[in-house]
Each structure stands twice: as structure tokens, then as C-alpha cells.
Symmetry: D2
Subunit: 281 residues, 4 copies
């Protein structure tokens, strides 16, 4: 029998980096979790135990901290891009990828104003970015995950096919809840990474305003809104779990339930995913 290594990737995951910008008052906090991964001509590491081309993952971690000291980290996308560029130059590397999750902090209030050096975690939402350097080109995506939203009306699900296993009633008014994961691709050369705020607002606004016939249709509206909000975005991938809120049957207790009392369930859940692309004009 003969076997062959057809693909490999390795790196360091979950490098936790907190940078305090304290040169000026007030302070800023940047809180990141970073993954490095490399692909390339590493066959002999696997087949022969020859580590001469194998950059230690510990070295990757050290490199992140050293770069973080020198780099102002204005936008995570640019920081990730510089790291990807650094690792792509190591012998044998054909692709270097830096994935970063930013954990946002908001200033605590003090006497009605934002405090200069005290912060609270803004929630479960992370801002994500992936910078991929390969064949002399850097590709950059941004995104978010863990943004949990819910609407109490303007959501229906009806008109779906019924077969011998269908029991779900049609509904014109239900709760729609999801945890948004979105990743959008920037055009080559795009650098205004402050675009994230407007893209996020556009998606959230579309979620709130949409008269929904399905999670699918709402997803599409959100994706289209994101593309409309920033001309530098070429496509967007959205992943929306349907966090079902089931109407509780209160009839056994002599009570009606006019869309008021729900049980929130974790499993099973619907999962709706799509990629939406800007068309050339």
C-alpha cells in the first residue's frame, strides 16, 4: 500500500492578545483572539520528521505579540494583513492566513460621561476578520458572529409543501429569533475598514424592517442591505440558525395564548445559509 499527503495546514490557534493604548487619555482597549495557519511545502515534516522548514507555532505566538507592540492596530484587518504578509515570506509557505476575532468593550459611564479607562464587555458579539496571503495577493474578509436578535411580529411561515411527515401548521405571525453570523469579502485594494459599522447597521435594520415570509427571505434582505451599504463589499455569506420559540398550549389550563407565552428552545434548530454576490453593472 502506498499513501500520499494531499493537503496539510498547521498553525497556532486562540492566541489571546489585549492591547492598551495609553499614550493619550482616555485609554483604548483592543481585545483579540488570533489564529495563524500556514500551508505549503511541508511534506517532509509529515513523512520524514524533518522539521527544518516547520516554523514553530510558539514562534507564531511570539510574533503576534511583538507585532502588536510595534503596530498601532487601528483596524484589525490591517494588522492581520501585516501578519499574513510576514508569515507568507517564510520558506516553503504558499498560503498564510490570519483569522482574528475582536471582542468589543464599551466605556462604562461615570457622572453621565464615558469613563476614560473603565470598560464593560459589550456582549457576546465578536467582530471577525480573515486575511489570506497567497500567490502575492492578500484577500480580506470581515464579519461578525454572536449578534442575537429577535422580532415579535412581522414574521410568517406558510405555503410550504406538505407531505406524509408534515405536521407544522401555517403561521402568519410568529417570533423570529436568530444569532447572526456574517462574513463579507472586500474587493482587492479596499482599505476603509471602518465600513464595518455601516454594514452591521444595514443588516440589523433590514432584519427589523423586513416583513418576513421565511428566515431565507429575511437573510436575503439582510445580505442585499449589506451589499448596498458598502460598495467595497463583493459578496457576503450569512448563516442564521432559527432559534425556535414555540407557542405554549395553555388550553389544558382553560387559558388562551394569543401569541404571548413561548418556550425558547435550543434543539433542534433550523439552519439557513446563503452567499449573495454583487452583480457587475
Amino acid at each position: 500500500m502506498s499513501v500520499e499527503l494531499v493537503w496539510s495546514r498547521y498553525g497556532k490557534s486562540s492566541v489571546r492578545l489585549v492591547k492598551v493604548r495609553r499614550a493619550s487619555d482616555p485609554h483604548d482597549v483592543i481585545d483579540l483572539t488570533i489564529d495563524v495557519s500556514l500551508e505549503g511545502a511541508f511534506e517532509k515534516v509529515y513523512t520524514d520528521g524533518d522539521n527544518s522548514a516547520c516554523v514553530a507555532t510558539d514562534t507564531m505566538k511570539n510574533t503576534i505579540y511583538a507585532f502588536a507592540r510595534r503596530d498601532p492596530i487601528d483596524h484589525v484587518e490591517a494588522f492581520a494583513s501585516r501578519l499574513a504578509d510576514h508569515f507568507s515570506k517564510k520558506p516553503g509557505v504558499s498560503l498564510a492566513q490570519i483569522a482574528a476575532a475582536e471582542h468589543p468593550w464599551t466605556r462604562l459611564p461615570a457622572d453621565g460621561r464615558p469613563h476614560p479607562h473603565a470598560f464593560a464587555r459589550a456582549g457576546e458579539e465578536d467582530w471577525t476578520t480573515v486575511a489570506t496571503r497567497s500567490a502575492g495577493r492578500t484577500s480580506i474578509t470581515s464579519g461578525l458572529r454572536g449578534l442575537v436578535v429577535l422580532k415579535t411580529t412581522d414574521s410568517a411561515f406558510a405555503g410550504f409543501p406538505r407531505d406524509e411527515y408534515t405536521t407544522l401548521p401555517e403561521v402568519r405571525d410568529r417570533i423570529l429569533a436568530t444569532s447572526i453570523t456574517a462574513t463579507w469579502q472586500y474587493a482587492d485594494g479596499f482599505t476603509d475598514f471602518s465600513a464595518r459599522t455601516g454594514i452591521r447597521q444595514a443588516m440589523v435594520g433590514a432584519f427589523a424592517a423586513h416583513e418576513s415570509e421565511s428566515v431565507q427571505q429575511t437573510l436575503y434582505a439582510m445580505g442585499a442591505a449589506a451589499l448596498a451599504a458598502c460598495s467595497g463589499v463583493t459578496e457576503i455569506l450569512l448563516s442564521l440558525p432559527n432559534r425556535h420559540h414555540l407557542l405554549v398550549d395553555l388550553k389544558p389550563f382553560g387559558l388562551d395564548n394569543p401569541n404571548e407565552i413561548f418556550v425558547a428552545t435550543d434543539q433542534p434548530f433550523g439552519l439557513i445559509e446563503a452567499r449573495i454576490k454583487r452583480m457587475p453593472t
Copy 2:
């Protein structure tokens, strides 16, 4: 050998209840996870398999949903109290306890105003309450958990004893980060449960403003501030994990690190807990 049941408790945990108040526009969302537990004369359930006094935990769940339909749920404390009262009247029950965690939602913005029926989860922070009914008296606590805060300066730790196992250097300036868990006891008959907001603000304000010599001292300042903020609170229990942010040694790379680059660690962590009580005047 002879054995005896010396204590028992049973109930239903993690009942997920979402109530939409839709009578008027805009809608409100109340999102709760509720635990019921009972103590009492249940020995025969354990020793003889005699279930004649054993209220089914499924019945507890049903009761919560039925009560939620009838009850406006203005404050979770009052709702929990009414449930505790109901279960305390069941045969054999000597103590009925309702623990509730409220998961807050904030309105999404729409055209610069809060949206009437679209919401986002406010974060990982839960608001907690426990209503305990026993011997004709109801005791009520409120609290919060998962409020993650951080300050980039005004925190020191020095002057601690050094023994043969001590390697920690003294520091006058460090990051202080924690996830606040607080539970405060209301005086008998207290009913203004909107006090929560002011108590929370007082604790957070104390965290931000404190010139800290230790997590312990900051905890005490936060507890004292909570007691000062609401005269109806008789005591408060605070639990503060010390989420260590370690300064990264960049000297091997020819770089200094003027309190700027940190690694956030999960384990091990310090854990500081105390109960602080208002003294009779």
C-alpha cells in the same frame, strides 16, 4: 446498618419562558429561565416509592406557563414571589423556592429611534432573583451575573507577604478585569424592585472610580456603594473572579512593554468573595 434521609430538595430547573407583551405598541419581551425547588415532608417518596405527595416537576413547568399568561410580570421578583406562594401551599411543602434569571433585550435602532418590535440581546449579563417562601414568610434577593468589566489603570497589588513559594512581583499599575456576580437581600416587605438599576449603577461606578489596592478592596467598595444606593437592601454577596491579564515579556525581541501588551488568561484565576451588611444605626 440503618440509614436516614436527613435533607432533600427537588424541583424543575431551566424552564425557558419568553413572554411578549403585545397589548399595546411597542411590544415588550420578557425572557426568563426559571428553577423551582421544594423541600418538605417527602421522606416516603425516597424510602417507600410513595409518590402521593410528590408534585410532578412537569406540573411545576405547566404552572409557570399558566401563571405567566395571567400575570403581567412587571417585576420578576413579584412573579417569582407569587409562584413561591403557590407551591408553598402544596401538602407537605415546608419551603418553596423560585430562582429566575432574566436575559435582557434592548430595542434595535430604526431610523434613529428604538424599534417597536425588534430587539437584540444586551449581552451575557443576566439579572437574577430568588424568592423563598417558608414558615409564612417570603424572602427576596435580586442580583446579576456575567457583567464583565475591566479597568486599564488605578489598580495595584503590593505589600503582600512573601514566603519561599512567592515569585509574584509587586505592581502599582495593572489591568483589573472581572465578571461580576452579585446577590443582594431585600428587607422584608420591600417591593420597589426597580431599585435594581440604581444598585447596578452604584457598583459599576465604584468599580470604575476606585483606586484599587486589591480585588478585595474594590469588592468592598462596590458592596458599600450598593448598600448606599438602596436603603431597602440589608446585605450583599459579591463574587469576583480575577481575570488575570499577564504582561507579555517582549525583551527577547528587543522590545519594551510599558503596560501595553497583555495575554488574557482563563486559568488559573483568583476568586474573591465577601458578604457585606448594613449595620443598624
Copy 3:
């Protein structure tokens, strides 16, 4: 307003310690997560920021690793006891508690025999111990958690009271599943900590053999079996979540369901707890 510190506790949590005993072949692995906590005369730490009596939690961590090098760690109970003794002698300490969770590993098979230095994690089950040193006396408990068991028959739940909120049907045959958490107290001076194995077997055997009328009754049988298995155990606390397996209604699809197809649910869950004590003879 005047406030007072009425109770406090502090320490280091989640110290991860792996010890390899390699003096002889085959190797042994001991994998522990340890929490240290101290109570005592620490008021001035909280109220005045005076750290002169405040043993640093970092020192606690160092002490654990140094003790682990010197101590053979034959039984975790004895190791925890030695650490509790050490910390109890620090100035101001009135109570020192060491809680340890042991994560068991089993030897991988190699050519039909246990491998001398390769291991697999045995599962989610942890073995726990708490050694508490106070007022010149050391109290020791052992236990386990995360032992998930299920029986497909010999479990009923019927004869419970029915009120206006009861919808649960009586059943004579159901799935009974739980995740066992148990903590037992050893008598003063007891030192044969290998008793754990027999106590565990007794509980598991009782779970399997019991003709159950309720989780409560099975809990009691398990506790009684544990006490019978080891005369050095004075009492045991058991906590058994009822991991409900709900029978799926297949009638809409023209199918019966003779106790065969179930949906396993996470929430809500019943929670049954009791403490059972050996009576003096």
C-alpha cells in the same frame, strides 16, 4: 450609613496540574484541577487596602506545583489534606480548603496489553475531593461528577398528585437517565481512600438493579448502597438531574411507538437532591 464585612473567602481556582510518575516503567499520569480557598482575619485587606496578611493567589499556585514535586500523590485526598494543612498555618487563616477534581486516564491497549506510557481520557467523569482544615481538625469528602447513566426499563413514575396544572400521564415503563454527582463524608481519621472504587460500584450497581418508582427512590437506594459499601463513610449527598427522554408521538405518521423512539431533551430538567446519613447503631 455604616457597613460591615460579615464573611469573606478568597483563593486560587482552576490550577491545572499534570504529574507524570516516570521513576518506574510503566508511567502513571495524575491529572488534577485544584482550587484553594482561605477564610480568616482578612478584614483590613477589604476595608483598608492593607495586604500584609493577604497570601497572593499566585503564591498558592506555586505552592501546589512545589508540593506536587515532593509528594508522591498516592491518593488525592492525602495530597489535598497536606496542602490544606500548609495554608492553615499562615497568619490569620481560620479555614483552609483544597478542592480537587481528578480527571482519570486509562491506558491505551497495545498488542492486547495496557500500554506503558500511552493513555486515553476515560470520559467526562471526574473524581472530586475536598479537604477542609479548621480549628485543628481536617474534614475530608470524596465524590464524583459527570457519570452519565441510563436504564431502558425498570423505571416508573405514577401515583403523583394531580391538580389543575397536571398533564403528565402516569407511566410504568420509561427511560431513566441522569448525570450522577455524589459527595460523601469520611469519618475523622479515615485514611483508606481507595474506598472510592467500591463506593462508585455500589452506587452504579444500585442504579442498574433498582426497580424505580421515582428518581427520588433510586437516589435513596444509591445512597444507601454507598453507605453500606464503606463503613468509613458517615453521610452522602447525591444530586441527580432527570435527563428526560420523551416518547415521540408517531401517530400522525400512522406508526405506533412501543417505548422505542425518544427525543433526549436538555431543558427543562428535573433536579433531585438528598443527603443520607448512617445512623448510630
Copy 4:
């Protein structure tokens, strides 16, 4: 601006199914978590809110339970394949995928023999399978995840390149620990899904026996062993996080540390992944 849906997928995730085979004594338990996903001509669902082709995810869930009642479920691979075939015939569907995770249970001992109807969860290890039906062809993979293994010797990491950010010392003897995730592809028409046991043993045996120069080299040995163990496997994907065990520096306490005392860390971690293929002979 014009946008286009370029890819979409939807389905039901985390359908929890427990089947008890009780026709004969002893009982068997099959415990599965199943995800269904469909791709196809669903554009109008997204763009027009036209649900006429959108099989409800609730119907998917019902279908799983009904099939489970009729199907003996001898091997999960075959059960997943039948479900994939069913959904692939729905209008518009171009690809139907069933992913299943099996949670193994072992029989509890009773009087030295396996108990006929009482079980314990075997650990955190899941057995996985994915059946994909598309263009008239079904592709089947099997795998496992959560198999945590550790070896206390026969693991080195040296000879790696050193740059200005490298501080890691070379080591000839270290702990190697990982949580194995493996997915292997069966050749078309392969049906002997009991092969899983032998493939698992081969990988674990290779892990134990390998004189490792790196996680990469051990991964390759494990993959080659899996391919050698079953001629019906065409390729295997392995993902091995390096769960670092760091040697504790005990010199400050006047102690040596001859590879004996380690701190187990969660983050950051190395992550090594590769795909290994059988070559045509």
C-alpha cells in the same frame, strides 16, 4: 445595484434521537444527533418569499423519527444514507446531506457481567458519519471526534527553524496530548461499516507506538495506519490540536523538574491538519 444568490443551504440541525431496541433481551441503545441539509433550486424562497418548494425543517425532524421507527439502524451510515436518499427526491433538491453523531453507551457491570438494560456514557468521544446524495450518487464518510489521548514519552520537537521571534527550546522528550478528530471517505459501494472499530484501533495504536518528531509526523503515521487497516477507505482527514503541557519551572523553590510536573493549558494551542490518500497501485 443588482445582487444574486450564488449559493444556499438549509435544514434542521441537532435532532436528538434515542432508539431502544427492546424486542429481544438484552436491550440496545442508539443515541444520535442528526443534521439534515439540502441544496437546490430554492432561489424563489430567498428572493420572492415563495415557500412552495421549501420543505419545512420541522418536516425533516418528523421524517427522522418516523424512519427511525421503521429502520433497524444497524449501522448509522446506512440509516443516514436512506434519509439522504429520501430527501434527495424532493422537488428542487440537488444535494441532500445527513450528518450524524453517535454517542456511544457501554453496559454497566452487574455481578461481573454486562447488565441487560443499564448503561453508562462511554465518554466524550462521538462517532460521526456524513451521507451525501447528489447527482444519483451517495458518498459516505465516517469518523470520530473527542477522543482525547496523551503519551508521556516518545515525543520530541527539535530541528525547527529559529528566527528573531523564536524562544522555544528544542526538546527530545515531552508530553504529547491531543483530541483526535478524524473523517475518512469510503469507496463507492462500500457497505461494511463495522470497519470503524478496526480503523479506530489502528489510529490509536499508531499514536501509542509512534516515536514522534512532531505532531505532524504522528498524524501522518495515524492516517497511514487507518488506510492500511481498511482497504475500503480512500482517504482520511485528521485534525489534531496540540494540547500543550508546559514544564513548570520549580527552580525558584530549590527543586528540579525531571519531566514530572506540568501545567495543562487550553490556549493558545497548535492545530495540525492533513488529508492523506491511498495511491492507486
